[in-house]
């Protein structure tokens, strides 16, 4: 392999200092995604302070986020099933960097939360709050904290965050 390779590395300051010609553009792209039947209902129920799932009678799974077809059995799912707004942390992180690369003093605590009433290992992505970061553990029971009714719009953020559910013992 050749020892010298193509490519001209630049310092950050080169493009800012006017030594390098640049052209910039802000894309004007907007989308409105059709939620479809499954997620449409999911959002409607979130507005009503409820979590809803779909079940497949063939494999027996209760799935959240809900879907109109079972991806394992490849057949339509059968029923709507209300599930609880409590669960356990399957995994979590303490994130000190925001999505747009700002340093955060207090970490965000994203987690995959297994939902009570759904099949084992079936979780959703959300955020945890009101707990000292060092105390968060895999297996910790949590419950949803909902926004007040007037603020709920039919979004996953109608659940403001999840907090420790002190009423349940941690599963070993």
């Amino acid at each position: 392999m050749p020892e010298t390779l193509g490519g001209t590395p630049l310092e950050a300051k080169s493009s800012r200092g006017g030594n390098i010609f640049t052209t910039s553009y802000v894309p004007q792209l907007r989308y409105a995604w059709d939620t479809g039947e499954a997620i449409g209902r999911y959002l409607q129920e979130l507005k009503q302070e409820r979590l809803i799932a779909r079940s497949c009678h063939q494999c027996g799974r209760v799935m959240i986020p809900p879907r109109m077809f079972c991806e394992r059995c490849f057949r339509p799912t059968d029923e709507w099933v209300y599930v609880k707004d409590t669960g356990r942390i399957i995994t979590f992180s303490l994130c000190y960097v925001s999505w747009d690369v700002r340093r955060l003093k207090q970490p965000q605590i994203p987690a995959v939360i297994e939902i009570d009433g759904a099949s084992p290992g079936t979780g959703i992505l959300h955020v945890v709050k009101k707990v000292p970061p060092k105390q968060v553990k895999i297996g910790m029971p949590v419950r949803a904290v909902w926004k007040p009714s007037a603020e709920r719009v039919g979004s996953i953020t109608d659940i403001a965050y999840w907090e420790p559910n002190t009423k349940t013992k941690k599963r070993q």
Binding site: Y25, Q28, L29, Y31, D34, G36, F69, E71
Partner: protein, 383 residues
């Protein structure tokens, strides 16, 4: 060992300007179920899957994340091509011929109705350094080429208007089509210009839909119950992406893709082909593509054929019996596969009111729209 490849199943939704009640996953699931039933195949018998999609058509990055579930492809070999469905057919053909898969599914869909800023999307595809700063609407690129093409070939606005009338009228007989209309050339010629000399009525409008095609090697095909449709050839090609370097006025990408497909299909004279489903995103493109495909030696002949009715459904060389993109709707990367659907229906004798008397070999061609010079050609035959 035979290396013949067949299409053994198709499934598709009708094309609509909007599809608010179902997500892209739900539309695709419907088409997949139909296709697998048509092919008499279980989802878990399929070896490999291909989606033809672009991130920015969907508004989701790494869109291939969201593709396997609705096809029954979980934990299977699956990849995305960021190109038209006909490129996907070429991909599937190669996979089968290499022996790595016996059956391959190709899927494409359009949720163009969810894209609120379609012209800005095309703008985002233009060269950011040399072209975008000029700030013109990208459809003007088609208008520029159309002007040159008409000038070079001596074809006229009348010819382009006749394409619109033909295709939208053909769509009246196609229950799948989104924009059937009994429109006349006169109507078209009195419609406003979008960008001279291109009229609004000559531009295909977007539609939503989902389509799934199942391909298989000869061994698997012999077990299928529907009349087998063989993929005789599949080719793809790109001319220069750079506006300033490309061959304006000629659809070289179609010419080269067709050469590859004709060679594979052992077709020496394109007149051997019974029907053509080709790109007409802008009406003049149908004429340009016919010339590039070698159906007519001279552009003048193409115009004459149009005027004499030869490319009508009732003519000697039916072109876009389905209604084309003008009549069906332009469905982004699914366009080529909806053309394949028409060919398959015709070759099987299942095209109902559109059924041609002679349909043994058909050709589908697509172009990816401005600002690209990207296209593919697929030739199907019933023998």
């Amino acid at each position: 060992m035979s290396d013949r490849v067949a299409i053994i199943g198709i499934g598709y939704t009708s094309l609509q300007p909007t599809t608010p009640l179902r997500s892209f996953k739900e539309l695709t699931f419907e088409s997949a179920q139909k296709a697998y039933a048509d092919a008499a195949i279980r989802f878990d018998e399929i070896d490999s899957f291909v989606t033809c999609a672009e991130d920015f058509n969907e508004g989701i990055s790494i869109f291939d994340e969201y593709t396997p579930d609705q096809l029954g492809a979980v934990q299977k070999p699956m990849h995305t091509l960021t190109q038209d469905g006909l490129h996907g057919i070429a991909d599937a053909l190669m996979q089968i011929r290499s022996g790595i898969a016996e059956t391959v599914v190709v899927e494409a869909h359009s949720k163009a109705s969810n894209l609120l800023t379609p012209d800005w999307l095309l703008d985002y595809a233009t060269d950011p350094i040399y072209n975008r700063p000029l700030g013109f609407n990208p459809h003007a690129l088609a208008a520029l080429e159309m002007n040159l093409f008409l000038n070079q070939t001596g074809m006229s606005a009348d010819d382009c208007a006749a394409i619109v009338a033909k295709n939208r009228a053909n769509a009246l007989a196609n229950p799948v089509a989104a924009y059937p209309l009994a429109i006349t050339s006169t109507n078209v010629k009195s419609s406003p210009y979008f960008a001279y000399p291109l009229r609004e009525a000559e531009m295909a409008r977007h539609a939503d839909g989902a389509v799934v095609v199942v391909l298989a090697n000869e061994n698997k095909a012999s077990k299928s119950r529907a009349k087998t449709v063989w993929v005789l050839g599949a080719g793809s090609a790109n001319d220069s992406a750079t506006l300033e370097s490309r061959e304006w006025g000629k659809a070289l990408y179609a010419e080269i893709a067709a050469k590859h497909a004709y060679k594979q299909a052992a077709i020496e004279d394109p007149r051997q082909i019974d029907l053509f489903e080709i790109d007409d995103t802008y009406a003049y493109k149908e004429l340009q593509h016919l010339v590039a495909l070698g159906v007519y030696k001279e552009p003048r002949e193409a115009a004459q054929a149009l005027q004499s009715g030869e490319t009508q459904a009732s003519g000697k060389t039916p072109v876009n019996v389905s209604g084309g993109s003008l009549g069906m709707g332009f469905v982004l990367e699914a366009a080529g596969l909806y053309r394949v659907v028409e060919l398959v229906l015709q070759l099987r004798g299942q095209a109902g009111p559109r059924q041609l008397a002679r349909a043994k070999i058909g050709l589908a061609q697509s172009w990816r729209g401005v600002p690209t010079t990207s296209g593919a050609v697929v030739i199907l035959g019933s023998e």
